[in-house]
Structures are given as C-alpha cells and as structure tokens.
C-alpha cells in the first residue's frame, strides 16, 4: 500500500499535449478510477505511473519516495493490461511465477504465493494450461493473478474489462472490487466506461483533452459536476442540456418550452455572477409526470414523445421540446405513446446551471469555491471556477 502523489505532471507527444498539469494525491489503499473518452490521457497517465511512459515535467512519488527516475523494473507496481498481455509460451503457473522467479524468490515461497493467488481467483485447475486454452474471463483472472502474486505497493489496471462480454464484465467488475477490498492495495483503474467508474472507484478522476476536469467521489461527481463536460459524461442516460436566459430580476429562468422559477439560493448565486445567458442541465430521472404531485417541482416542460423505451423497471422517453431533444426516465408506464403530447415537471433543487461559454457550473456561490477539494481545469489549461 502506498500513497501515490503526482504533481504538475505533463506529457507531450511532439507538440501535442497528452497530459497537462496532472495533480493528484491518493490515500493509502484507495481505488482511484481515471475515466474519460479515448485520447483523453488517462492511459498515458497510468503508463507514467508505471514508468512505461516518460514524464516531460512534474514529479511522481510513492510514499514520499521520488519515482520519476526509478526504472519500471524497480517500482513496486503490478499492472493488468487491456489485452491481458499474458506470456503465450508459458503456462498459467509460469505466468504467475514469472515476476517472482525474476526476483529470485525461494521455490517454496513462489509455490505458496502462486497457489494462494490461484485459490483467491479460482484458477487453480488451470495452472498447467497455456493462455490460448483459456476463455476471456479466465485469461482476465490469470492477468489479475499475475498482478496480485507480486504483492505490489500499487496496482495499475488499464481497461482490464474492455475485452469481455457485457455479462462477464459485470461479474468481473464485482470481483475486482471485492479483491481490492480484500488486499487493500492502492489501485489506479483506467476505463472509458462511466458505469465501471461509478461502481468501482473510491474517487474518480474525469479527464478530457489531457486535462483533469474533476476529482471527486462518484456521488459528488453525479450531484455536483464542476462543468457541463463532467455533467454530460457521468450518468446514463446522460444529462439534458438546454440554453436558457435568466430574467433581469434573477427570479426566473426561461428557454424553449419552459419557464422555471428559481429557488432563492440559486437566485442569489446567479445574481452574484450577473450572468444572464446560461445553459441549464437536468438529469432524465429528475423529470416526472405532471400528474405526480408528491414531489415539488420548479416548473413544467411541454414536449412531444418521439420514442418510448421500456426498460423494465422504468420507462425512458425521448421527447422534443420546442425542437430540442431531451430524455426523461419515468416510472414504468405502458400508456405513453409516440406522438403524444407530454407535460413533465422538473424536481425542485435538481437544476444545474452552467456558463454558456466556459461550461462551468454556476450553482455554487463564488465564496463557496474550495479549489483544494475539487480541482478543475478547462482544456485550455485555465482553472475553471467551481
């Protein structure tokens, strides 16, 4: 277990920045997920921690020990690769024992550790098989076994589940989470799948264009995204966005097909910024049928249903409001039909307001900004107001 600290880490490919000014300090045994779209720099960051990629600037330390000049072989890390990268010419036992043999562990110790890892991952019967004789899920377990047998200070996982089918991915996701709880090693996990990120991470680092957008716990990311990028990336179905104008007196917010009354706290925050042209965001599950009066709403949206998706526990509808497409996640309802007019209420306190140009979230008052707890940068490298 180690505290991993990255400070001002940058990496360029030619003149193109791959990772810009990356700052993060983990807690001991923390499970940190790096998430973002392809090319956002998450794998590059992981590879820099591993030592497989050089850092152009910045520092990296494990428990305060500088690591940037330590060769890969001498870092106490273990890595699970996207393609598993098992040694195809060695059997499972030898794959697991390889690192220990290189470190000249006594035979008995190697045997003990390999057997223990194999038991933990339920791959004992496979020890004499070659990787080509294993299924995808079994290979995945062997790759994990090869990592845990080392008993490393830091675990690095680069999209380890992306080659598995959907069902197996869910199973393995739970197993990795359980495994982490059991062995408690500080773990970096790279994925582009926000569901994996939300379900596995103690903290999530959302990246875009090589820049950290936000570091927060899963629920904090979901409830208080620092900008429209994070808001749109986290959540499935994704958040709805509409352009809107704040009234002169700051009491109302209007746009295509809606006119919402702003709650006093939000009024106060927006007026302190003196911002009238904004983008609003709200999650599909925060829209509810107008007939449902149990929960207070801040206004009504009128639209036409374009598509009805029965998900089993919920009914998702895609609707157009004044030419803009939105998604609503409603309680299961079999009466909704395509082309029906529909009126939906937006739950009070669930409105996110973003700067139309920068995408920064405006719900938070200027005085409440705590840059040390939540960092955010725009892709141009400027610090975003939070």
């Amino acid at each position: 277990m180690a505290v991993v600290k990255l400070e001002n880490v940058c990496r360029y490919f030619g003149s193109t920045p791959a990772v810009l000014d990356f700052n993060l300090e983990t807690r001991e045994g923390e499970f940190v997920v790096l998430v973002g779209p392809s090319g956002c720099g998450k794998s590059t960051t992981l590879r820099m921690i591993a030592g497989l990629e050089e850092m152009d600037s910045g520092t990296l330390s494990f428990d305060g020990r500088p690591m940037q000049d330590v060769p890969v072989q001498d870092r106490e890390i273990a890595m699970v690769f996207q393609s598993y990268a098992l040694y195809p010419h060695r059997n499972v036992y030898d794959n697991l024992a390889f690192a220990l043999k290189l470190r000249r562990f006594p035979k008995a110790e190697i045997e003990k550790r390999v057997r223990h890892a194999a038991q933990t991952l339920d791959i004992e019967p496979l020890l004499l098989r070659k990787p080509r004789e294993l299924s995808g899920g079994q290979r995945q377990r062997v790759a994990l076994g090869r990592a845990i047998v080392r008993e490393p200070d830091v675990f690095l996982m680069d999209e380890p589940l992306s080659n598995l089918d959907a069902k197996l991915r869910v199973t393995m996701r739970a197993e990795i989470a359980k495994l982490h709880r059991r062995i408690g090693v500080t773990t970096f996990y790279v994925t582009h799948d926000q569901v994996e990120a939300m379900t596995m991470g103690d903290r999530i680092v959302v990246m875009n264009g090589g820049v950290i957008q936000q570091i927060a716990t899963p629920l904090a990311l979901y409830d208080e995204p620092v900008n429209s990028y994070v808001a749109g990336f986290i959540g499935n179905p994704p958040m709805n966005f509409l352009d809107a104008d704040v009234s002169e007196d700051g009491g109302r917010i209007r746009g295509p097909g809606f006119d919402f009354e702003l709650e006093p706290s939000l009024q106060q925050r927006l007026s302190s910024r003196n911002q009238h042209e904004v983008t609003i965001g709200f999650r599909p599950e925060h829209l509810k049928p107008r007939t449902d009066d149990a929960l207070p709403t801040m206004g009504i949206l009128q639209g036409t249903i374009e598509l009805v998706e029965q998900m089993g526990s919920t009914t998702d509808i895609r609707l157009t409001v004044d030419g803009h497409s939105l998604i609503a996640e409603l309680p299961r309802d079999q009466t909704l039909q395509i082309k029906d007019a529909v009126e939906l209420g937006l739950l009070a306190g669930r409105l996110h307001v973003f700067d139309r140009d920068s995408g920064d979230r405006l719900n938070v008052a200027v005085s409440e900004i705590q840059p040390s707890s939540v960092r955010s940068r725009q892709s141009n490298g400027k610090l975003a107001s939070v």
């Binding site: 690769f81 040694y87 290189l102």
Partner: protein
C-alpha cells in the same frame, strides 16, 4: 437433386486431386530422375534413347564414397554451414531486437545498410576477400568458409528475425518489464521464444544458402581439407573420366536430401516466415 450435387462435388474433388497429382509428379520428376541416375551403371547414364528402367546398382555410391573424398566434403560442409548459422544467430538476434524495438537515431539507415550488404555482386568482392583470408592465413580452411557464409547471410537472417520480433505485441514485453525483467531478460525470456518461428526460418534459409555457396568456396578452398559438397560436385565434371553423371547424382542427392527432410519437418514455420517477410516493410 441432393444426390446429383453430391456426385458433382465428389467428381470435382477427384479432378482437383488429379490435377495436384500431375503437378506434384511434374515437380518431383527431376528428383526421381536423380535417384534413378544414382542407381544405374555409368554406361546406362549416357545411352540414347535413355533407359527409363535401368539395372539398379550401387556402383556410383560405392565409387563416390570410396574413391572420392566425400566424407571430407560432408564434414567441411557441415562445419562451415552449421558454424555460419550459429555465428549469424549470435549476431542477428540482438541486432534484430535492436532494429525492431529500440528507438535511436539512424536506426532505419543501419537496418538498410545491413540489408544492402546482400546487394553487392559477389564477384566484386571476391579478390579483396581472397587477399583478406590469405593475410589471415585462413585459405583452404573451413573456418574461412564459415566466416564468409556468416557474412553473406547475416543480413537476411537479421531481417527475417526482425520481421517476427516486430510482430510480438509490445504489451507482452511491457508486462515483462513491469514484472521486473530488463532488456536482455525480455529478449531471452519473452521476445525470442515468441519469435522462434522466425529464428527457425532464418536458420534454414541461411543453411540452404551456405550449402549452395560456390564462388567464394571455390576461391578459398583448393584441397579436400576445406572443399565442400558444392565445389566437390564440380570435381566430377572434368578430368580424364569426363562427366560422371551417376556420381554427380549421388553428390547432388547427398546435398539435397538432408535439406529436403529438414525443410519438410519445419515447412509450417518456413512458409509462414517467407510470407511474413514478403509482406513486411
């Protein structure tokens, strides 16, 4: 309907096999002719029209092995060819790994330079090589042949192995690095075992080229203490006895058969290797 389709499929398969059998016969005919030539008396090799079903005799085999230094030719060929392949592998494996994996200035130029040594017309360097080995006091010595064969084949051995090493996924090598292996360890424990087809292919090619080499062998060796089978073969074409066809057939078979068997044994490696080499840049 289904029955007629089955009959048509069956006859088409028979047709295919017949065609392949004809082709195989056409390709193997020279070998069959060589075998029958080695098993007939000298007079039967020169009659016109030719005798297709001769009186079989081991006269040529006896003559070749008893009256000619065949064992010396075999020994020299074996020492020079196998030795040259070992030297090639010793030099080519690290060179190929370096060309396939490390980034450094001039890497591609070095790669091309290695390949370009194969493009020189052998006659152009024949005299300098003769003088070089004369000064080294290595004339008429199998060691000199070993070195020459190794030099001639080094480029192709390097490039074939390189093309296989490039195919080894980088992630596997990175996994080994994370596991604690250093460059040499990665080469020996991961990259080389995964490129073994390339090593086998390159070795066979180098062996065939070495056994076939004639010009430099003729130049460097002039007694049976260094002469190999390829030069030995030429000995049967002159002299007072004229051209001894059945003896030539024996020497040709002795040269050909081991290579043929070896090639059959590893043909899967070989065909893959040649195809890969053709498609690589």
């Amino acid at each position: 309907m289904a029955k007629s389709r089955r009959v048509s499929q069956h006859s088409s398969r028979i047709g295919r096999y017949l065609l392949l059998a004809c082709w195989a016969f056409f390709c193997l005919l020279p070998i069959v002719w060589l075998v029958t030539l080695s098993l007939r008396g000298r007079t039967e090799t020169m009659v016109n029209p030719p005798i297709y079903w001769p009186h079989f005799t081991l006269e040529a085999w006896r003559d070749t092995f008893e009256n000619w230094p065949m064992w010396a030719y075999l020994r020299n060929t074996f020492v020079a060819a196998i030795g040259s392949v070992l030297i090639d592998l010793l030099l080519a494996i690290p060179a190929a790994y370096s060309l396939a994996r490390f980034q450094y200035r001039g890497r591609d130029q070095i790669g091309f330079y290695i390949l370009s040594t194969r493009m020189i017309v052998p006659a152009a360097v024949a005299l300098p090589i003769y003088i070089l080995f004369k000064n080294l006091h290595l004339l008429d010595n199998p060691v000199a042949l070993m070195l020459i064969y190794a030099a001639i084949n080094l480029s192709i051995v390097t490039w074939v192995i390189r093309s296989y090493m490039i195919e080894v996924p980088r992630e596997i090598e990175e996994a080994a690095r994370v596991d604690g292996a250093r460059s040499i360890g990665i080469l020996l424990r991961v990259t080389l075992p995964l490129s073994i087809s390339g090593v086998v292919t390159a070795s066979i090619l180098a062996l065939i080229f070495a056994v076939n080499e004639f010009l430099f062998t003729l130049l460097i060796s002039y007694t049976d203490s260094a002469q190999t089978l390829s030069v030995g073969l030429a000995m049967f074409t002159g002299g007072s006895k004229g051209i001894i066809y059945n003896d030539i057939a024996v020497v040709a078979l002795v040269t050909f058969v081991p290579m043929f068997i070896l090639t059959l044994l590893i043909q899967r490696h070989l065909s893959r290797g040649l195809t890969m080499g053709a498609l690589k840049n």
